[in-house]
């Protein structure tokens, strides 16, 4: 048995030779692939809460430029999403486990993964209260200064778990009675949205303690309530109502103001039934000041339905600048954060990840079989 140096050498210099053997894979070379750090801007994490087998949540990393599937994380019961720090070196993943799969002792942790090896580097125990819900971006976020990780709890009492990223320790639980989810607003501040349409503004000090303030209602929750699926550019959170009205909310640790609202649809389009829908129904690219929305036609109760159209807006002028149709129904879209953005599109009940040129709406490629019930997508 003769062995040659390596496969590339063989392929380039000896291709076609009938006499040389292919080299052994067991004699040399790595056994396990690793990943570029920091990740390119065109990579995307597809999170999957695996509805038929929720104990086995997963996240998948895809290269938008090549369509190549790069790697997997196994992330436990009722998984929401990974949280990515700006330097791209680590991945934080709030996870829930049971000692016997779907029964026994419950343990919640934040697992810290190495972004280059996808190996767990450690885990941070947190209170076993992490909310189990249809995954939202606002289930878990970092403060803007990346000092604290904030995780929404529901059991059914509502609170926010504060994890110190520097010390990798759980530091505190902030009670948020009647208020849900976590929207960061600055280096150390965030808000939650309360059932009556008011906000709970919070400021986190070095010890992880929160100084809280409850606003008057800023959203009308009865007639045409807003969804949880807000997106952020700079200091503005764009909330959208079931009917498709955008409410730009500026908030910091102390005050919150909702600017002039504007519609995704014209009166005629609303009459024709056009409205946004989906799980991750809005996406923004800050470089381009663009907001993308999945659109479909249907009644008020279709606010979570998928759509096959994407409408694009300039958030500074509120003008629609583009409309295009998708190859497949979508429940989630996401944009890469760079100047030549890709748009990723996926449907929870189908598992093709479609990758579009966000500027032209042209389908560039599809990646088959990404997961079981993909929910939300996260970009670097």
């Amino acid at each position: 048995m003769r062995l040659l140096v390596n496969a590339l050498l063989l392929c380039t210099s000896l291709a076609g030779s009938a006499f040389a053997d292919l080299p052994s894979d067991t004699e040399h070379g790595s056994q396990v692939a690793t990943l570029q750090v920091p990740p390119p801007k065109h990579w995307v994490w597809v999170n999957d809460f695996v509805f038929p087998h929720m104990a086995d949540g997963m996240a998948y990393l895809i290269d938008g430029d090549s369509g190549r599937y790069l790697g997997t994380l196994s992330t436990g019961y009722g998984f929401a999403r990974v949280v990515l720090p700006r330097d791209g070196k680590l991945i934080y993943s709030p996870e829930t486990y049971f000692s016997r799969g779907t029964r026994g002792k419950r343990t919640d942790v934040v697992t810290v993964y190495d972004a280059g090896t996808l190996k767990p580097l450690g885990e941070i125990p947190i209170p076993a209260k992490r909310s189990s819900n249809m995954p939202m971006m606002s289930n878990s976020v970092m403060t803007d200064d990346e000092r604290f990780l904030l995780i929404y709890n529901f059991n059914p009492a509502q609170s926010v778990t504060v994890v110190d990223i520097k010390t990798r320790k759980f530091v505190r639980e902030i009670e948020t009675p009647g208020c849900a989810l976590v929207y960061p607003t600055g280096p150390r501040s965030f808000f939650s949205v309360c059932g009556d349409g008011s906000l709970l503004l919070a400021d986190v000090d070095d010890s992880g303690a929160a100084h809280q303030k409850r606003t008057k209602p800023v959203f009308d929750m009865s007639a045409d309530p807003v969804t949880e699926k807000a997106v952020r550019i700079g200091d503005t959170w764009y909330f959208v109502s079931f009917a498709g009205r955008i409410y730009p909310l500026k908030a910091d640790a102390h005050e919150a103001t909702v600017g002039a609202s504007w519609w995704l649809t014209s009166d005629a389009e609303r009459k024709a039934g056009w409205r946004p829908g989906g799980i991750q129904q809005l996406a923004v690219n800050a470089q381009k000041s663009r907001l993308y929305s999945i659109m479909h036609r249907g009644g008020v109760e279709t606010h979570k339905d998928p759509g096959k159209d994407v409408w694009v807006y300039d958030v500074s002028t509120h003008q629609r600048v583009q409309q295009f149709s998708l190859k497949n129904l979508a429940t989630s879209i996401q944009l890469s954060p760079d100047e030549q953005p890709l748009m990723y599109s996926i449907f929870i009940d189908g598992t093709d990840l479609d990758i579009y040129d966000a500027a032209s709406g042209k389908l560039l490629r599809s990646v088959a079989h990404v997961g079981t019930t993909p929910t939300i997508m996260v970009t670097p």
Binding site: M54, P156, A157, C179, M221, P225
Partner: protein, 174 residues
């Protein structure tokens, strides 16, 4: 049962205001419902027990169909397809005492009923008869009317694996 009266009153206003039939329970938060725990039903014998009567059914439709009238705000696997029924959990699961609420219209008697969608907990997903309807569903900000929560949350006996959802009548929405 005082909260029910308050609920019903609000419900009427809501119905006038919205296209949806589902009630608004802002501020009520999480409700404690269906907390009876004594098992009284006969054991399942493997066959569906359906009333034989020929008159129009008071509870019309197929409880294992997504179209069934009680399912107007459900989101999950129908327990009737999983070894339970529209009002009971499958063997080996625990019914969550906290839940979300819908108001659904019974086409047979023309009345609106308050429906409690108690989740059954403690086993992996049933995976059968998935049904998502969102009449009156709102965001996670209003838990009592959001079907996007896993309502097995906080059930000490089965915190938190979700198996399927029931659609239990609480009463009429007067």
């Amino acid at each position: 049962m005082k909260w029910l009266d308050a609920f019903s009153e609000k419900s009427a206003r809501t119905l006038a205001r919205r296209t949806s039939r589902r009630s608004v329970l802002a501020g009520l938060g999480s409700l404690i419902l269906g907390a009876t725990t004594v098992p009284l039903l006969p054991v399942a014998r493997g066959a569906d027990t359906k009333p034989a009567g020929g008159a129009p059914k008071a509870d019309p439709g197929d409880p294992n169909s997504c179209d069934y009238w009680r399912h107007c705000a459900i989101d999950g696997f129908l327990c009737g397809c999983c070894g339970g029924s529209q009002s009971t959990c499958p063997p080996g699961t625990d019914m969550s005492p906290v839940t979300w609420i819908g108001t659904c219209h019974n086409p047979s008697d023309g009345k609106d009923y308050v429906i409690s969608y108690n989740d059954c907990c403690g086993k992996s997903s049933c995976g059968r008869c998935f049904c998502n309807r969102n009449e009156g569903d709102t965001a996670l900000f209003q838990p009592g009317q959001s079907n996007d929560y896993n309502w097995c949350s906080g059930n000490a006996k089965a915190n938190i694996p979700y198996h399927c959802s029931t659609a239990r009548i609480v009463g009429t929405a007067k």
